[in-house]
C-alpha cells in the first residue's frame, strides 16, 4: 500500500518535472521567436541599439513568465520565491557591487544616447566602432581589428568622444614656416590649397590662425572641414598638397634651429682651424 503511494508520488513528481521542462523549452522557443519577430517588425523605425534592447526585453519578459509557470508547476509558491529573490538580491548586491554598478551604468548609458551601435567612439587611447552595448560592458572593434570590452562603469566615469555624431569634422593642422616668410603669402597659398581640394568643404570656411613665434618657426594652425566619411582621405590629401604647394612657392618648413650665445660680457668661443693633414698623420 505504502509502496504504491510512494510510486504514485514519484510518478506525479516525474510528470511535474516533465511539464516544467516542456514549459521551459517552450518558453525559450516562444521568447526567442517573439524577440526576433519584434526586431523584424520595428527594423525600419528603430535604431540598432533600440532594436537590441527591445529584443532583450521581449525575450526575458516572455521567458520570465514561462519560468514562473514552470516553478509553479513544480510546486513552488511564486510569492515566496519573489520574497526570497528580494533577500537574495540584497545579498548578491552586496557581494557583487562592481557587477551591479556596471548594470546600473549600462542603463544610464542607454538612456543618455551618447552613442549607439555602429558609432565610432574614443575612450582614453582606444578608438573603435561600437558593436554592442550590453548590461555589463560595451564592446568595441578597433580599426586594427581587435575586440575591446570596456566596463560600463568606467565609461560612465570617463570622457567618451563620439566621432560620428555630426556629419562634418574639422581637421586641425599645425604648421611651422621659416621666419623669413611672408605670413600673408603663406595664408594665400594655404587657402588656395584648400580651395583646390574638392574634399575640403567650402563652408565652414578654412581657418588660418597665427599661433605664435616658435623657437625655430612661425607657428600656424590651419583648419579645414570635411565630410565625416572623407576625413581620413582629406587628412592624407591636404598634407601632401600643402607640402607640394610650399615647395612650389619656395616656402621653407624649417628644422629646429639652435643658436649658441656666450653672452655679451663673455669672450667669443675660441675657434681653431685644425690641420687636416697633420690630424690624419696622427691617426696613423
Amino acid at each position: 500500500m505504502i509502496q504504491e503511494l510512494v510510486a504514485t508520488l514519484h510518478l506525479e513528481m516525474l510528470l511535474s518535472l516533465i511539464r516544467a521542462a516542456i514549459l521551459l523549452g517552450a518558453g525559450v522557443l516562444i521568447a526567442s521567436l517573439a524577440g526576433r519577430l519584434s526586431m523584424r517588425s520595428f527594423r525600419q523605425r528603430l535604431s540598432p541599439q533600440m532594436l537590441q534592447l527591445l529584443k532583450r526585453i521581449v525575450f526575458y519578459g516572455i521567458f520570465g513568465l514561462f519560468l514562473a509557470a514552470a516553478l509553479s508547476e513544480l510546486g513552488f509558491s511564486i510569492a515566496v520565491i519573489m520574497g526570497a529573490a528580494g533577500v537574495l538580491t540584497v545579498a548578491i548586491g552586496f557581494a557583487s557591487q562592481t557587477t551591479a554598478s556596471n548594470l546600473i551604468s549600462g542603463l544610464f548609458l542607454i538612456g543618455e544616447h551618447s552613442f549607439e551601435i555602429g558609432d565610432v567612439i574614443k575612450v582614453g587611447d582606444t578608438i573603435g566602432e561600437v558593436l554592442s552595448i550590453d548590461a555589463l560592458s560595451v564592446k568595441l572593434r578597433t580599426f586594427d581589428n581587435l575586440f575591446v570590452r570596456i566596463p560600463n562603469e568606467s565609461l560612465i566615469k570617463s570622457e567618451v568622444t563620439t566621432l560620428t555624431r555630426f556629419p562634418i569634422r574639422r581637421l586641425d593642422l599645425k604648421l611651422g614656416v621659416a621666419y623669413k616668410e611672408d605670413i600673408n603669402h603663406v595664408r594665400d597659398v594655404l587657402l588656395a590649397v584648400a580651395d583646390a581640394n574638392i574634399l575640403c568643404l567650402d563652408e565652414p570656411a578654412p581657418l588660418f590662425i597665427f599661433t605664435g613665434f616658435g623657437d625655430s618657426a612661425l607657428e600656424i594652425q590651419f583648419s579645414v572641414w570635411a565630410k565625416r566619411e572623407n576625413f581620413l582621405a582629406l587628412r592624407n590629401g591636404v598634407t601632401a598638397d600643402i607640402k607640394a604647394a610650399f615647395d612650389a612657392a619656395g616656402i621653407e618648413i624649417p628644422f629646429p634651429h639652435l643658436s649658441i650665445y656666450t653672452g655679451e660680457v663673455t669672450k667669443p668661443f675660441p675657434v681653431r682651424i685644425a690641420d687636416s693633414k697633420a690630424e690624419n698623420s696622427n691617426d696613423d
Partner: protein, 268 residues
C-alpha cells in the same frame, strides 16, 4: 514639350547608339574625355577630366573602331545588345551658389539670374537598359549649408558669374542652366552672397542645340516676416527650342513650394 525630329536624334549626345563589339564610343563631353569600349563580353570605360581651357562648346562623341587605349574600369556582362544610352541627371544634393562678386538686390526689385550646375552622367547598356555607372561630369566640392555645424545639410559648392542676360551664357554641354528669379519684397537690400539651389527637385530638359535647361525657380523674400519661399515652375523652361524632358526630379517637390527661414535659403 515637343519631340525631336528624327534627323536631330543623331546629333544629340543623349540619343542611344549602337556600339558593336570591337568598337568604342569616344570623344569629349564638356569637362570630360570619355571612352567606352565594347569588348566581347565586357564594357571598358575610361574617363579623364579636361582642363578648363580645353572645354569644347559642343559634345563630340563618335563610334569608332578599336578599344580604349587605357582602361579605368571593366564591366562584365553576358548580354548580346550593342546599345549604349548616355543620359543626364541633375546633382543629388542641393548646390550652394556663390556669385564671384557680391551681388545685392535692392528693395522691391526682381532679377532673373542664369545659374549653371554640372550634370551627372548616367551610362546604361543593353536592352532593357542596365546601369553601368553614374558619376558627375565635373567633380564638385562639398560644402555645408546651415545656421551651425550641427544643423544644416551637406551640399555641393558652385561658383557663378550670376549672369542676368541669357545671350551671355557660355555653351557648355556638361552643365544645366536654371533660370532663377529673385523677388525682394523687404525694405532692405538683399545680399546675394550665397543661396541654396534645390537642384534635386528639378527636372532636366535638353534642346535641339544640345543645351540643358531646368525648370525656372522663383525665390521670394517676404516683406514683413523672416521667411523666404521657393517656387518651382511646373512648366518646362521658356528657353531653348524643341525641349525634351531628359530626367525627372530626384525628389518630388511639394505642391505649395517650400517656405523656409530666410537664413536657411540665403545663408545670412
Amino acid at each position: 514639350m515637343t519631340q525631336h525630329p528624327q534627323q536631330q536624334k543623331k546629333t544629340l549626345w543623349w540619343t542611344p547608339r549602337e556600339v558593336p563589339a570591337g568598337h568604342r564610343l569616344h570623344g569629349s563631353l564638356g569637362a570630360l574625355e570619355l571612352s567606352l569600349g565594347h569588348d566581347t563580353d565586357e564594357w571598358l570605360l575610361d574617363c579623364a577630366p579636361v582642363g578648363e581651357d580645353d572645354i569644347q562648346p559642343r559634345a563630340s562623341l563618335k563610334v569608332e573602331k578599336g578599344l580604349p587605349e587605357t582602361i579605368g574600369e571593366r564591366f562584365v556582362h553576358a548580354g548580346k545588345s550593342d546599345q549604349v544610352h548616355l543620359s543626364a541627371m541633375l546633382a543629388d544634393r542641393p548646390v550652394v551658389i556663390r556669385p564671384r562678386q557680391p551681388v545685392f538686390l535692392l528693395s522691391q526689385q526682381t532679377v532673373t539670374l542664369y545659374l549653371s550646375t554640372p550634370i551627372w552622367l548616367k551610362i546604361q547598356v543593353g536592352e532593357p537598359a542596365v546601369l553601368l555607372k553614374e558619376f558627375p561630369a565635373q567633380p564638385l566640392s562639398d560644402t555645408w549649408f546651415g545656421p551651425s555645424t550641427r544643423e544644416g545639410e551637406l551640399c555641393y559648392a558652385g561658383r557663378t558669374h550670376a549672369r542676368h542676360n541669357p545671350s551671355e551664357l557660355p555653351r557648355r554641354p556638361h552643365r544645366a542652366i536654371t533660370p532663377l528669379t529673385i523677388l525682394n519684397k523687404a525694405s532692405t537690400p538683399l545680399p546675394l552672397e550665397k543661396f541654396s539651389l534645390p537642384v534635386p527637385m528639378l527636372a532636366l530638359y535638353g534642346d535641339v542645340d544640345g543645351m540643358l535647361w531646368t525648370q525656372a525657380v522663383t525665390l521670394t523674400r517676404e516683406g514683413q516676416t523672416d521667411l523666404a519661399s521657393v517656387q518651382i515652375d511646373s512648366r518646362p523652361p521658356a528657353y531653348g527650342k524643341g525641349l525634351i524632358r531628359l530626367a525627372p526630379p530626384r525628389q518630388e517637390p511639394g505642391r505649395s513650394g517650400l517656405v523656409r527661414a530666410f537664413s536657411l535659403l540665403f545663408g545670412t
